[in-house]
Subunit: 339 residues, 2 copies
């Protein structure tokens, strides 16, 4: 027997902002497991800004997606049939085999999710890669100290919203930028930012001066471009910049000039540190323990923007670049019911 599935493949490499034409939804059939295999039904999948980089054919920290092949990315599912000694029917699993409804696996790259401390989808967000990115970016790359002044860009997003709240837990003064008045209100009222602003209105540097008269100790950069330049101009001596992402530049069709004031880093003794979450795998246990307790205590709140059905995945992905999401963008693929 086989199971009917659907998958999204990369039809062609996007130029500039991705469009529907860059993706193709196909039907596939997945065999029943043979000995040593599991059949997994994905329940939800992640779309993340870093995937845009993998759609370009260039050397990077992860190899590029191939045209004509099914995309990959974080996904959570349940084992529906198992002939594998380490997995049982009903196990929750996480994998990098998103962008598809079902898959067959020998278990490589698939790990069981046990002792869930939050709703399942949170393991794509606050308890997963984006949450850990916020945690290691602030405390690892950014070397945040209690009581400092921190600026987070893209602060209503999956990473930024968590970074800001961690900084508040560390008794910091926290500034955040986002696009549009609703998100700005959310930063202030829901996530507890001390100063939040709409980067589309007014000068970013003037906002920073208003929100942090004495300058910034740490800047958590999700955006790049003007945000980074303004932050450099407002850093205090020995400030640290955690370079996490540059979403303002991911769809650029020409190389984007870097900050024109980078030489200020010399006299100020600034450190700019690029990182991805896997560089700080040694902090995983600390992250899981801290974040689970913060969520349980209500000290960290999180939002999700959920779209339904695999056919929505390209829209969900494109929406990351138009600001369609508040918090983590999730694509729900199936209900979590026993088969």
């Amino acid at each position: 027997m086989t199971t009917k599935s659907r998958e999204v493949l990369l039809k062609k490499r996007p130029v500039g902002m991705p469009t529907h034409d860059d993706f193709e939804l196909i039907e596939a059939s997945v065999d029943d497991p043979a000995d040593g295999q599991i059949l997994v039904q994905n329940l939800c999948m992640s779309v993340d800004p870093y995937m845009r980089g993998r759609m370009v054919d260039r050397k990077s920290y992860t190899p590029p997606f191939k045209v004509g092949e099914t995309l990959t990315g974080g996904a959570l599912g349940r084992v529906r049939a198992s002939l594998h000694p380490k997995f049982s029917e009903g196990d929750y699993v996480q994998s990098n085999l998103g962008w598809r409804e079902w898959f067959l696996s020998d278990g490589a790259g698939v790990s069981k999710l046990e002792g869930l401390q939050a709703p399942l989808s949170a393991y794509l967000g606050v308890m997963g890669m984006p949450g850990m990115t916020a945690y290691v970016g602030l405390l690892g790359a950014g070397e945040l100290k209690d009581g400092e002044t921190v600026f987070v860009s893209g602060a209503a997003g999956a990473v930024g919203s968590i970074a800001g709240q961690i900084a508040k837990i560390k008794d910091c003064r926290v500034l955040g930028s986002a696009g549009g008045p609703e998100k700005v209100s959310l930063l202030r009222d829901e996530f507890g930012f001390d100063y939040a602003f709409d980067y589309r209105k007014g000068s970013i540097l003037e906002h920073l001066m208003e929100g942090a008269r004495d300058g910034l100790d740490v800047y958590f950069d999700n955006v790049g471009g003007e945000h980074l330049q303004a932050a450099i101009a407002h850093m205090r001596p020995f400030g640290r910049i955690a370079l996490c992402g540059a979403i303002s530049q991911y769809n650029a069709t020409e190389p984007v000039p870097g900050p024109n004031n980078l030489t200020m880093a010399i006299g100020l003794g600034l450190t700019l540190k690029g990182f991805i979450v896997s560089h700080f795998n040694h902090m995983r246990e600390d992250f899981v323990r801290d974040m689970a307790s913060w969520i349980a205590d209500g000290r960290v709140k999180y939002r999700e923007t959920v779209m339904h059905g695999l056919e929505q995945a390209p829209d969900a992905f494109i929406g990351l670049f138009t600001g369609a999401n508040v918090g983590k963008m999730i694509v729900q693929l199936a209900d979590d019911r026993a088969e």
Copy 2:
């Protein structure tokens, strides 16, 4: 009685490349010391690229020079008369009161040079600020480890030539760039660089690929601009960039865009660290001990480009930006004779 002296003052702020018209040589008379004062004759003075930044009226790590006032900078001299309990006639002293032949002081900011371990002028170069900048930039900001691959730009200059030799002492593979074939030969033959190239010929990135097929662990940046962009493109994972200077940009009349590939720092986990020598004052004792022994052993060699007479100081300074110097640019002001 008074002593006739000459001083150089900043006549106007340079726009772009500094010219003679930006400086003025004036005659001054210096009084005999009163109680608690010393009269110092400067023997030699330093011109350094960082001084260009101080000629601009903007906030920086040192306050700007004032128009119409005598310039300042590193200088070495001898006490010619003393009514100060801590100084005696004949003492060698260092101060920041360069750009003048004589000065009167109450001792503030003037320190005795005792137990000289190298010729006097070396204390403006290899044993002084530029030598220590090379040392702390590599070992402090750059966190150099034995056996790594290092690229030094501006490698024939006062800082770069020492940085390259320190890296060789640490068993590193060392690449260096300089302007013109004579300097390139010097890097290779005198300072022991493994690969030296003329940045004016060919692509910097291609030179780096030829000289270090497997990439760079550390880049010591004296130059900024294209050099920095090419180095970022060729860094290995977790590479470190010590931002020391950006001489290619100091005379720019418009803001200079930063490297257009700074986002590569994210996936590679690169660290860019700006610094000035005073950020690492805690390493001073180590520096003095190590450098004195390396010079004594012949493991560190140094060159000086010497110009004679205070009237040459503006030319010496301007020459820093046209590549007129090999090693440390020194202005000799007087012979070291007893009066």
